[in-house]
Structures are given as structure tokens and as C-alpha cells.
Subunit: 452 residues, 2 copies
């Protein structure tokens, strides 16, 4: 009997894992249990599908279940919700189509159970209340927009998905209000960068209420939501409510099976993505990640990390030796023309980890002005004691935000300010200014160091 | 009497040096001797001025001589050609306006004498023969284009400046032929990348003759050039000829003064940009540079390096301690919509330096297709023995070429293939695909390594 790999969850991490294992082990039996009706879709593209920039849902689906079954010999079982794992018997128990019990034996198991919204509010089952975390939910939201033509939307939470949904709804002609319980948009963003974002929100007519914690969804009977109550006595009227207040790892299945949960609340793994139970791996939004800047476990659920972890888990489950060392915390998003990116730690995060964090913000052009260059902001964060670079944030138009990758490489290489002063970055008028913002920032950081 | 710094040459390296010294030492006397009529212009923008994308020459001049005199208290002397240095007497001898001898005493000297075209051909003094290496020459070329409306241009040499001038002349409506004596466009370019460039040249109607070494400029009497003779018996008719066949460092002044010339033929310096004579520095296109990939001296004249070397030379001449560790050989250019970039060594260069060089070429998108993403090529070059990354080249539209900076950082940090497999580069559909080309290439390289 061939060895059998079972993967729970068929989105980014799960399908990456299954595909990698198949590539390395043509004879292995591979089963994917997916509770929904879709596999392998680009969840990061959902807001652009809602906006209509992506015309059809199929464009977000990299490959469908049939492709995996027929071309990759992966036994994808849709509408199979795993409900229990018995590690002793190496068996997963699932419900097919919500009711039929199924038991699936495995030799190796990969948990890619994803994440769930953090926030549950009274009234959130009303028909015009949405999340934007699955393809099915995004399709429901878009259909609602097209059929009901709502005018006022309230978005609860201003993380990067909230911002992307805000853009989508503005493009659809809605009046948008964001309720953010903290005092800043985008968690861990530095003040100068945050200010740029607030300007862009205002320029596109988005109303932002900071320090406004959503309390309940307003409405009568079973009818649609009519607004959101927040804070002590605030309320905001709405024809449409979208939740985007953060996610938490789905770990119930793992925890009940005796798989260790880490300090962040997500499934703990080693660098091979193996949990405390040999042969049991975890990857994607349900799993922890090693933060290379802090040297500690972290929870940073992102599509790109899910793909990498999935690939590594799949490779190891197939009997090979792959290693995922960790991330530096790189993120990019945009609100209309304004690109926003970060990598590493913010000043507050760095201080919380015991670093003597300093920061400097500079501006520079993306390219020569006669090639349409735009001025953008770059914040560099470093440790005063060691001069080690700890983080970088960018806000700007044109291709400014993608420059974060250069800083991400510097974090991977544990570079110090001195190492960045004269790095040989590419220059030509259609592409860059003579002094890239990162170099300008490193030179300013050096000056601050001398003064300190 | 205040200490006096004299800088020979007032373009990128020279004015960077003077400005840096001024900033650090308000009381220092600073004199710049510039043989031409312009200082501090963006030489890399000259082809775009010829094309007309930059309307007026003033747009290329960062600051003019008057600005430096009045705002920065730098004694810029235009039309002062240095003709001899007496290190024993710490004196530079110059000719003012081509004839009046002037002697200028110094305490510290910075040589920023730049570079001269390599190739001298019979007939190159004809009125419709141009270089494109100074602002004055670019103005003369553009005026010629506007007044004489030439139809056929021959460009001698296909380095990046030749390509940029070719684009400029195509934009001006000329039929353009490039004569390249070697068998490849752009020195040190890998075959797959070169092929992309040749396709772009053909698509824009540029005729490329490879293996065609220019021998003389054809014409009668003192009259205009009528064409270029090449190879054994070839000739190409032309109303306009532009030289772009490489440059060599201007070192005559230095050599005659006993300043050491390095193995590359350029002025040798230490990491502080000091020559063998204490207090005598060199920076920019006249100076060598330390190549961090090979660990040896190199000659890689580029504007961005000139600015950095100038800054470091100025800082040290002002009594501070700055260090320029070297470059990894990063270059970016474009031909119309096709961006081309490289960093580090080509396979041939790497092998010449004793590395067991391997390469792989992959393609990936710049961003999601629904955001106008374009497929581009990336070639990764590494050493099979150590797995150290040695170079990277990119050809593609959109913002593909600027991604070379990520590879440049990897070279600075001496990363190995294994370090690149899962680097935390930024991902979101408007900016990137899930797997950046660099990561795809590293994974392919790893596979090749296993097979070998």
C-alpha cells in the first residue's frame, strides 16, 4: 500500500504542500480535505474581485479541483470538513457536505486549516454583513453590491484588507466609513507613513473614525443591518457592513489532537514545519512563524508565507529535507495610487523586544522627475546599540512600495547602518535617483548615531 | 590661512566631493577647476535630452556654478583646464580659457578628471560626428538634429549609452544602425537577456551589425561624414555618426605627477579614496573601484559610483574618516519599454575569475496579470563549489529591471543560493506574484546543484 499524505485545507498552504509532495513523490497517495467549494485561489486578490478589477471569480482560481485531480493526481475532496484527528490511529474524521461522517487514514498529515475572524459581534449574521476572507464570501459581497446597490458602507477594522476593501467599495461608488478601535490605521505603522495614508483616505472621501471600537450591528428582527454601534454611544448608519478586524489561527482540531500550540496561539512547528507530533506538519495561517528580526515565534499570517510554508511542509512530508528559516515581516498593500510597505519591526515593536530603537524618515524620488518620478517617504528603524537595521516602512506612489524588498534583504542579512551607506543599487534616470531613499536614510541614521 | 581643498573636475564626483567637504568644514577654502562651462549635471540624462524627453539643458543641471559660489561658498572656476600637478609644491597648474596660465596652491587635492572615449578614428573631427559624454556635446548633437534633420544615423558601439542614444534617435525619426565589433550587444550580458534586447531593437527598426568593427569615418575634404567604414570592406551610409564605443579613465595628469595607476589603467586608491600620495584623492570615472564580488580592483565607471566615491573623498579630504568598500557592479538601462539590468558577474566573467559558474534563467510576472503584470526574464549566476550567488541579470517591461536591487543586496551580503530560497519579499497582486523571479531562480539553481 502506498504511503498516504492527507492535507487539511485546500487554499494557499494546503495546495502548495500537496503539489510539492506530488512533484517529489509520484507514487504517494495524496488527499486534500477542503471544507469549502474552492481550492487554490488567490485570497489576496479578493478585494480586487469585489472592486470589479478582476472580472470573474475563475481568474482568482489558480487551478481548480478538477485540474488537481486529473493533472496532478491529487484526490481533492471538496465540502469535506475535518472535525477530529486521532493521531494514535492516524485517522482524520470529516463531515462530507455537512452531515456524512467520513474517516480518512493517513501516514503523514499536514494541517493547513487557515484562520478565522477574531471579532464576533451581536447581529453579524444579518444578510448585509460580510467578511472578505474566502472566495465564497467575496462572491456573496459582490453580488450584494450589484443587486442591492447599497450607498453607505461601514468597514470594521483598518488592517490592510480593510483598506483594500475600502478602495473596492469607493470604486463601486459607496460612501465608506472605517471604524478603527486603536488610534492608528494599519497596525505597527510609523506616524509619518500613517499620515500619508490618512491623507489618501481623505482624498478619496473615506471617513475614518479612530478610537472607535465596534460593539454591535444594528438592525431590527432578522432584517438587514442598518448601522454599527461603536464606543460608548456612537453609531454609524450603513447599508452594508464588512468585517476586517483581524484574524486568529484555526487551531481547535490541532489542540484537541494534542498538537502543541505556541505562545502566539498558533500551531508551533520546527523549521521543517513539523509539529510536536512526528509526521504531523502545519503550514499557513494556522501556524506560527519564526521572526528572524526578533529571533522569536510570531504570528504573521500572509499568503506569500503560506505558500512557502506549504511548500516546505510538502517537501518534508514527502521524505525530503527542506527548511523554512522564517520571515522578516514584509508586507505591501495599496490604497488607490498610494503604495504602503513595511518590513521588520516598528519602533514600538522593537522597543517591546528590548531594542534601543531609533528611526529616521526621509523622502526621495522614485525616478527622474522628467520620467514621472514621485517623491515618497521611507522610514528606517535601527538599534542604537548594535546599529543593526530593524525595520523599514515606505509610503508612496509609482513603484516606491516595491523598494521594500531591498530593505527586506538587508534584514535577512542582518546588515548594520554602516553596511547600507553606499550599497550599489541601480541607477538610471528612468528607474531611480542617484541616491536611493534607503541610502539617504542610512546616511541620516549615521548622523543621528554620531549625535547621540 | 585656512586649509585649501582643490578639486579637479566639476561633474558628479567632483561636485559631490566639494559639497561634502563644505558641509563638514565650513571654514575650509574649496576651489573646483572645471575645464568646461558646466558643473554638476546629470550625465546619465544626456540621451533623454537628445531625445527631447528633457526639454531644456538646465533641467539636467542639478545646481549651476553660481549656486555653488553663492550658496555653498565653493570657488567654482569654469574653463580652467588643469595641465599639471606638482605634488612637492602642492600646486596645480591650469590654463584659463585655453591660454592664460594659472597656478593654484592646495593642501588637499581631489582628482575627478573623468573619462575619455576609447576609440579615435580617422575622420572623427567632421562636423556631424558626435560623442554623447558631456552636456556641451549633447547640446551640439540636439541642435544638429533640429537644424539639419538628418535621416540616417550610425552609432559606433552598443554599450548602454549607445542603446540610450539609439532610442533617442529613433524617437527623433531617424533610421538607426548600430555597429558593434563584438558578437553581443551590451558587454557581459547573458544570451537569453541579449536575445530579448535584440528583439526590442528589431521591433523599433534599429539595424544591428554585430562583429562589425568601425575603421574610419567616410567623407570628402573637410565636409560632413557620409558614412562609416567597418570590418574588411563594409560601409554604412550616415548623415550623423555617434561614438559610443567605451571610455577610458583620464589619468595623464595623475600619472605625470607620480600618482599610482592600478592594474585596470585607472587611478588606484584605498578604501578612503586616497591615492599613493597622502592628501591626494581620486574619485569617479578616473578612479578604480573595488569589486566586492571578485575581491579585486575593477574599472566600472558609472554616475552613481562617482557620486559615492566623491562623497567619501570629500569627507576624508575634510579630515573625517569615511570608507567606500566597493561595488558589486550594478547597472540598469532601458531601450524603449524594455528595461535591462545586471549586477555582479556574467558567467564568462565569473569563469575568468576562477569560479565554477553556473546559470539558470527563469521567467515570472512583475505583478498580477489583472494589474498589467508583464512576464520578464531573470538570469541567476552562482558558484557551484560554494553556492555563492555571483550575479543576476534581468530583462523586462514594467518595473522588472529595478528588481535587480534585491539581487545587488544579496551580493553585498555574500548570500548563497540556500539563503535566497524563501526570502521574505513583498507580495500583493498590484505589486508582485506570490513567487518572485529571484526565488524561482534560486529554487531552480538548487535543483541544478542536486543534479550536478
Amino acid at each position: 500500500m502506498p504511503e498516504r499524505l492527507v492535507v487539511i485545507g485546500g487554499v494557499a498552504a494546503g495546495m502548495s504542500a500537496a503539489s510539492r509532495a506530488r512533484k517529489l513523490r509520484p507514487e504517494m497517495e495524496i488527499v486534500v480535505l477542503e471544507k469549502g467549494r474552492d481550492v487554490s485561489y488567490g485570497a489576496c486578490g479578493l478585494p480586487y474581485f469585489v472592486a470589479g478589477l478582476v472580472a470573474r471569480p475563475e481568474e482568482l482560481v489558480v487551478y481548480d479541483a478538477r485540474f488537481f485531480r486529473e493533472k496532478r493526481n491529487i484526490d481533492v475532496r471538496l465540502e469535506h470538513e475535518a472535525i477530529a484527528i486521532e493521531p494514535g490511529k492516524k485517522t482524520v474524521h470529516a463531515l462530507r457536505s455537512g452531515s456524512q461522517p467520513v474517516a480518512v487514514r493517513y501516514d503523514k498529515l499536514i494541517l493547513a486549516t487557515g484562520a478565522a475572524p477574531v471579532l464576533e459581534l451581536p447581529g453579524s449574521q444579518r444578510p448585509n454583513v460580510f467578511h472578505c476572507n474566502t472566495l465564497a464570501e467575496a462572491i456573496r459581497l459582490r453580488r450584494f453590491l450589484e443587486e442591492h446597490r447599497p450607498q453607505r458602507a461601514v468597514i470594521i477594522g483598518s488592517g490592510y484588507i480593510g483598506l483594500e476593501v475600502a478602495e473596492a467599495l469607493v470604486r463601486r461608488g459607496l460612501e465608506v466609513t472605517i471604524l478603527e478601535r486603536s488610534n492608528a490605521v494599519l497596525d505597527g505603522i510609523e506616524p509619518e507613513i500613517e499620515q500619508k495614508l490618512e491623507q489618501a483616505l481623505a482624498a478619496h472621501g473615506v471617513k475614518l473614525r479612530k478610537g472607535a471600537e465596534a460593539k454591535s450591528i444594528l438592525g431590527t428582527g432578522e432584517g438587514p443591518a442598518q448601522g454599527v454601534a461603536y464606543g460608548l454611544s456612537g453609531h454609524e448608519a450603513a447599508d452594508l457592513v464588512v468585517f476586517s478586524a483581524g484574524i486568529r489561527p484555526r487551531t481547535e482540531l490541532a489542540a484537541e489532537a494534542g498538537i502543541a500550540i505556541g505562545p502566539t496561539g498558533a500551531i508551533a512547528t520546527d523549521e521543517r514545519m513539523q509539529t510536536n507530533l512526528p509526521g504531523h506538519y502545519a503550514a499557513g495561517d494556522c501556524a506560527e512563524v519564526h521572526n528572524l528580526v526578533t529571533g522569536k515565534s510570531d504570528y504573521l499570517p500572509l499568503g506569500t508565507t503560506a505558500n512557502k510554508q506549504g511548500r516546505v511542509a510538502g517537501e518534508n512530508a514527502a521524505g525530503y529535507a527542506a527548511r523554512f528559516d522564517g520571515v522578516v515581516g514584509t508586507l505591501v498593500t495599496r490604497f488607490f495610487e498610494l503604495g504602503l510597505a513595511r518590513t521588520g519591526l516598528s519602533v514600538a515593536q522593537a522597543r517591546a523586544h528590548g531594542f534601543a530603537a531609533m528611526q529616521v524618515t526621509v523622502s526621495a524620488y522614485t525616478r527622474a522627475k522628467y520620467f514621472g518620478g514621485k517623491k515618497f517617504l521611507l522610514t528606517l528603524i535601527w538599534d542604537q546599540a548594535s546599529e543593526r537595521v530593524l525595520g523599514c516602512q515606505i509610503a508612496g506612489e509609482d513603484d516606491a512600495a516595491k523598494r521594500i524588498d531591498t530593505a527586506a534583504m538587508a534584514l535577512h542579512a542582518r546588515m548594520r547602518i554602516e553596511d547600507l551607506l553606499y550599497v550599489d543599487l541601480s541607477y538610471a534616470p528612468p528607474f531611480a535617483p542617484v541616491w536611493e531613499a534607503l541610502l539617504v536614510a542610512a546616511n541620516e541614521a549615521r548622523k543621528q548615531g554620531h549625535r547621540a
